[in-house]
Each structure stands twice: as structure tokens, then as C-alpha cells.
């Protein structure tokens, strides 16, 4: 099965320090790939290059056989991501963030989709709150919700389990399995061995000798 996400010979340097050295792999539709490894080996850098938040110094990326370039609206419509740099507008409520994102993506039945995701993530009580009043766990849930109120073919998550309580982690595992069932390709970096064991089809190991 050809990969939905194809990465070839990806290289990223900071000065003369090589963080990604010719990385190549594929993630098929309906497949979950977990990027694992110790701190500082380039997991986040890889994800940032995939979503276009960082530019690789070499190599290529393709989505469904088409060059994966962040400026392409089709790519933005296909790739949903939560990285460590996500932030919120201090003057927009939880619900407004999600409503506007769903609107920007042209999500069919945006209001219904947002309501469902808000309920699933346990944010219904907090949906009129401004981000400054949310706990770190609620902020994490809001970040994750941004991926599920919009269409997607590739889901890119950087340590999605961070700051989630046990209930939240259980929901996350279920949501990732549902994404796999729905044919979404998932590329996630994680330090949670249990989560990786539960949802990942295969691991991309970084820093392994």
C-alpha cells in the first residue's frame, strides 16, 4: 500500500548541527505511526517540517503523491496538526475558536460538529470561557479539539498526551483508533509507551543506535 504521507531523505540542520539526517518513511491512510525517542533527537523538528512550520534543508515531502507544500490550500485542508507552539486568542472563547476554525475550513454542519467535539472532550462547561481562565489540561483539550472540528486526511500530533488526565488519555486513545478506522493517517510523537502500544501500527525510532 503506497503511503499517504511520503517523506524522502529529509534533512534539517541548525548551523552545522544536523538534526534530521536523510529521514525517509511512509505513513499509509488508516495507519498510525508513532515517532519515539529521547529528548533532543529531532522528533518535533520532523513534525514541524511535515506541517510546514519549519523548512527542511533537503529532501522532499508528498501527500497522496502530491508535493506537500504548506502554501497549497489543498494541503492545509488535508493536514490537521497540534504542535507545541499552538496558542490561543485571549479575547475569543473556546466555542468561538472552534466555530471560526470550522467555518474557515468549510466544515459541513459546522455547528453540529463543534458541539459534538466539545462534548466528547468534556469542554461543554468551559465553552464560553476565555483561554486565560482554562486549566492547562483544558487548553490541551481545546488544542486537540481543533483537529477534530475540521476535515483531515493526515493528523500530526506532538506529544498529544501531555497534560491530559486519565480520562482524557483514554479519550485520546479512542479518538486515534477511530481516526485509523476512518482512514486518516496519523503521525504522532509521544513519550507515553502505553498510548503508543495501544494505537500505533509501527514506530519510527529516533536516536536508536
Amino acid at each position: 500500500m503506497a503511503g499517504l504521507l511520503q517523506v524522502g531523505d529529509l534533512t534539517r540542520r541548525f548551523g552545522d548541527r544536523i538534526v534530521l539526517d536523510g529521514i525517509s518513511f511512509e505513513v499509509a491512510a488508516g495507519e498510525v505511526c508513532a515517532v519515539v525517542g529521547p529528548n533532543g533527537v529531532g522528533k518535533t523538528t520532523l513534525l514541524r517540517c511535515v506541517v510546514g512550520a519549519d523548512r527542511p534543508d533537503g529532501g522532499w515531502l508528498a501527500l497522496d503523491g502530491r508535493s506537500l507544500v504548506e502554501t497549497d490550500p489543498w494541503v492545509r485542508a488535508s493536514v490537521a496538526a497540534v504542535l507545541d507552539d499552538i496558542d490561543f486568542f485571549p479575547d475569543l472563547s473556546v466555542r468561538e475558536h472552534l466555530d471560526l476554525l470550522a467555518y474557515g475550513h468549510g466544515t459541513p454542519d459546522a455547528a453540529g460538529t463543534v458541539a459534538r467535539v466539545v462534548e466528547e472532550l468534556g469542554l461543554d462547561e468551559a465553552q464560553d470561557q476565555l483561554p486565560a481562565t482554562l486549566s492547562s489540561g483544558q487548553r490541551r483539550r481545546l488544542a486537540l479539539a481543533s483537529c477534530f472540528v475540521r476535515p483531515r486526511r493526515l493528523l500530526v500530533l506532538d506529544e498529544p498526551e501531555q497534560r491530559l488526565d486519565a480520562e482524557g488519555r483514554a479519550w485520546l486513545a479512542g479518538a486515534l483508533l477511530a481516526e485509523r478506522e476512518a482512514g486518516t493517517a496519523v503521525l504522532m510523537a509521544s513519550h507515553d509507551a502505553e498510548l503508543v502500544d495501544e494505537v500505533a501500527d509501527w514506530r519510527l525510532e529516533f536516536g536508536a543506535e
Binding site: G15, G52, R55, A77, L100, H105
Partner: protein
């Protein structure tokens, strides 16, 4: 699942965002009022003080013929080069993490989303360029200030648009060649000053202002059109770095603390360097008495050598007092003190670092006074050399009597570098500009206060 969706236009999404934010946000009118009021008061007070000083000294500008024109041209070029560096550092198109995550991730037309911000920046560049054109024209004693304003506006707009064009082309790193205009400007000013000092006659400039203005405006339009066409190629990565700098600059302005901005710029600089060559410290240090002290100085010197930009600024600042001595002799002593302060500050990064970090001091061991003294050696030596190199600038007392001023500059740099940790909890006074934290201002004024006293003394003596 991602095909044939009703994605809104950029205008509609922006309008929806604006409507939602208006429900919670405050009107920016209050901020604009405070800014305009502050600018008007500064302009009125500054104008009155300057006029008094100029009247007292029988005129500000010296009558030095074409050298004024050449210095104004070189200064304009240097400032344009620095503005180019600033524009490239910021983007000039940028978006914060929230905008990247929530709006730029949508398939909304990227070019349409960015068109407004680009045109706003181009207009800002034109306004600043026009002001710079008029300032340089006035300095040069030119009559056609209107045409110079037009030329400056065209150049400013073209500069911003060209930076956006490079951003769209994916040029992330600033190429060394991009420093050339600023370098040529400073080198040109130094050359003009050297020729003037050697009484070499400079030719009368013969630049027709109308064709120059027309060319600048045509260039601005052409580059802006090209930049607008390239907007669809501006990616998230290109806008992310500038946002970090802009956010740090805003926070630094809000908290009246430039160190917050410098921290981000430092982190970016070292990240781009990535790795440095490992070299042992000279083994001869081990044989010197007080080996530890010498090693601290050697480490501080090595860190300075890894900041070539800082040394370049140290050297470039030498031009300033000499230029002021030619253009406005009454202000030359003050200009020398201010330039010496900034030049020496560039060498005091180690002192700032050691003083600001108790953890670092604990790790280095020894007494705080010893650490501070070791990290004051380089700034002191740098100031001594700089002071000698700028000795040609006339100051009120003769060279031997200038020693208190030089020591005063060193003390000001020391005071600024050893500011206590910021404390935002002190008392605040309600003013027309909002709440002013007095304790915080006193902290941030440390160092600058002494410099102000030195400048005032110099102005009174000169």
C-alpha cells in the same frame, strides 16, 4: 472528505473573526489616544528644548559645505541598511502562534489574507522613508524637500516590498551581502569625515531630485506589485520567526525592558550558529598567578569574539561623534558620551549574564565581586580604546580632564549591566499615559540616569 468544501473568502473569515473579537475586546481608540498624546508632548517639549539650545549656540548646523550633503547621504544609506535588516528580521510579514494555528491553517486564500497586512507595511515604509528623506534633506541643507520626501517614500515602500518578496521566495537566512548597504553607509560616512579632516575638498553633489524621486516611486510600485503577486508563496515557516521577535519586542515595550527582546535575538543567533569549534584555553593561563581570574577573562573574550556583530557596532559607533562634531559642533561632546555608552554596552554581555544569574554565579564559584570584576575588564579595555580613537572629537575639558567622563561612562555601563532583578510589584502612579510603575522605572533607569547626568554636565560645560 477534503474536496468541494465551502471554504470562505479571506475577507469573510476576517470579518467573522473581527465580529467575534469585538464582542470581548476593547476598542483600540484608548491606546491610540495615549500614543498620540505622548508623541505630541514629546515633540513639543523636545522642540522647545532644542530651539533653546540652538539659539544659545547661534545655530545648530555648522557651515561646512558639501560635507553636510555627503554625510546626510551616507547616514541615510546606513539607516536604510539597518531598516532593511529590521524588516528582514521581522519578516516583514509575520503571524503569531495563535494566528498560525487557527487561521493560517485553513485553506483560505493565503494571498488575499496577507494582502492587507503587506500594503499596510508598504505604506508604513513609505511614511518612515518620507520622514527620513526630509530629515536627510534638512541636514544636507537641500531646498527640494518635497521631492526628497517623495524619493524617501518610494525607497521606504520599495524596501518593505522587496523584503516581502524575499520572504515569499523562501529566503529565511539573512545573506551577508544584505549587510552591505549599512556597511557602505558607515564606511562612506567615515571616509567623508576623514577627507574633511584632511581638508580634502569634496565635490559639490549634482543629483537632480526630480528624476531620483520619480525612479524611487516607479521602483516602489514595481516591487510592490511583484510582492503582492508572490504572497501566495509566503508559508507559515516564513512568518513564524518574525512573530517571535515582534512578540518579544512588544513585551519588551510593555514591560519597559529591552532585555526581553535581546534574549530572543540572542537565542535566535546562537540557534543559527548551532555549534562552535572546540578550542582549549591557552595552557599558559595555568602558570599565571590568579589563574582562575585570567580564565574568566579569557572565556569572556572568547564569547565576545563569537559576536562579530557586536564588535562591528562598537566600531561603527565611532562615526557618530565625529559626524556630529562636523554637523552640530555644539552637541559633539554629548554625542561622544552617548555613543561611548552604547559601544561599551555591546561588550558587557558577560557582565549582564553573570550578574543576572545567581545559578551561574554559584556554578562558577568564588566571590561575586571577583566575578563582576573579571567581567568588567573587557568593557573597560574596550572603552579605553574607543575613547582614544574618538579623541579627535572636541569636548569641553581637554583630554586629561576627560577622564572623569570616561570613568562615568564605564560606571553607567556597569550600573546598567548590574540592574537588580525586575520587580513589577512596586508602587504605581496614575498618569494621563496610564499607570506608571515608579519602582520599575527607577530600576530600568539605572545606568541611563548616570549617562543623562554626564550628558547634561557636558552640555553645560561646552
Amino acid at each position: 472528505m477534503t474536496g468541494a468544501l465551502a471554504v470562505p473568502s479571506a475577507r469573510r473569515l476576517r470579518a467573522a473573526v473581527r465580529r467575534a473579537r469585538r464582542r470581548h475586546g476593547e476598542s483600540p481608540a484608548a491606546d491610540i489616544y495615549v500614543f498620540v498624546l505622548f508623541a505630541l508632548i514629546c515633540a513639543a517639549v523636545g522642540d522647545r528644548l532644542l530651539t533653546r539650545y540652538v539659539v544659545r549656540h547661534g545655530g545648530l548646523l555648522g557651515d561646512v559645505g558639501p560635507v553636510r550633503w555627503w554625510l546626510a547621504a551616507a547616514g541615510g544609506l546606513a539607516l536604510s541598511g539597518l531598516a532593511w535588516r529590521g524588516a528582514r528580521l521581522l519578516g516583514p510579514l509575520l503571524s503569531g502562534p495563535a494566528e498560525q494555528s487557527w487561521w493560517l491553517s485553513t485553506p483560505v486564500d493565503r494571498a488575499a489574507w496577507l494582502r492587507g497586512p503587506l500594503l499596510l507595511r508598504v505604506c508604513g515604509g513609505a511614511a518612515v522613508g518620507a520622514a527620513l528623506g526630509v530629515a536627510c534633506g534638512a541636514l544636507a541643507g537641500a531646498a527640494a524637500l518635497g521631492w526628497l520626501a517623495a524619493a524617501g517614500a518610494g525607497a521606504g515602500a520599495a524596501l518593505l516590498a522587496a523584503a516581502a518578496l524575499l520572504q515569499a521566495g523562501g529566503r529565511r537566512r539573512i545573506h551577508p551581502l544584505e549587510w552591505v548597504p549599512a556597511g557602505v553607509g558607515f564606511a562612506g560616512a567615515a571616509t567623508v569625515l576623514a577627507l574633511h579632516a584632511g581638508t580634502v575638498p569634496l565635490p559639490e553633489p549634482a543629483v537632480p531630485p526630480v528624476p531620483v524621486a520619480a525612479a524611487a516611486l516607479v521602483l516602489a510600485v514595481a516591487v510592490t506589485v511583484a510582492a503582492v503577486r508572490g504572497l501566495s508563496r509566503v508559508d507559515r515557516a516564513a512568518m513564524a520567526g518574525g512573530a517571535q521577535v515582534a512578540e518579544a519586542a512588544t513585551t519588551a515595550a510593555l514591560f519597559l525592558d529591552p532585555a526581553l527582546l535581546f534574549g530572543v535575538l540572542e537565542a535566535r543567533r546562537w540557534r543559527s550558529v548551532g555549534r562552535v569549534r572546540r578550542r582549549p584555553f591557552w595552557p599558559g593561563w595555568a602558570r599565571l598567578p590568579g589563574r582562575r581570574w585570567w580564565l574568566l577573562i579569557a572565556a569572556d573574550t572568547r564569547r565576545l569574539a563569537r559576536r562579530p556583530g557586536g564588535l562591528a557596532v562598537w566600531a561603527a559607533l565611532l562615526v557618530l561623534p565625529y559626524a556630529v562634531a562636523v554637523l552640530a559642533p555644539g552637541l559633539s561632546g554629548a554625542a561622544r558620551l552617548v555613543a561611548a555608552y552604547f559601544a561599551t554596552s555591546r561588550l558587557a554581555a558577560g557582565l549582564r549574564l553573570v550578574h543576572a544569574s545567581p545559578a551561574l554565579r554559584r556554578a562558577l564559584g568564588g566571590r561575586d565581586r571577583e566575578l563582576t570584576a573579571a567581567h568588567t575588564v573587557n568593557p573597560a579595555l574596550g572603552l579605553a580604546v574607543w575613547w582614544l580613537l574618538s579623541a579627535g572629537v572636541r569636548m569641553a575639558p581637554g583630554l586629561p580632564a576627560q577622564l572623569p567622563f570616561a570613568l562615568g561612562v564605564l560606571a553607567a555601563v556597569y550600573r546598567a549591566a548590574t540592574r537588580p532583578p525586575r520587580n513589577y510589584e512596586g508602587g504605581a502612579v496614575d498618569t494621563p499615559f496610564g499607570m506608571i510603575p515608579v519602582a520599575l522605572l527607577r530600576q530600568l533607569g539605572r545606568g541611563v540616569d548616570l549617562l543623562a547626568v554626564l550628558v547634561l554636565a557636558q552640555l553645560l560645560l561646552q
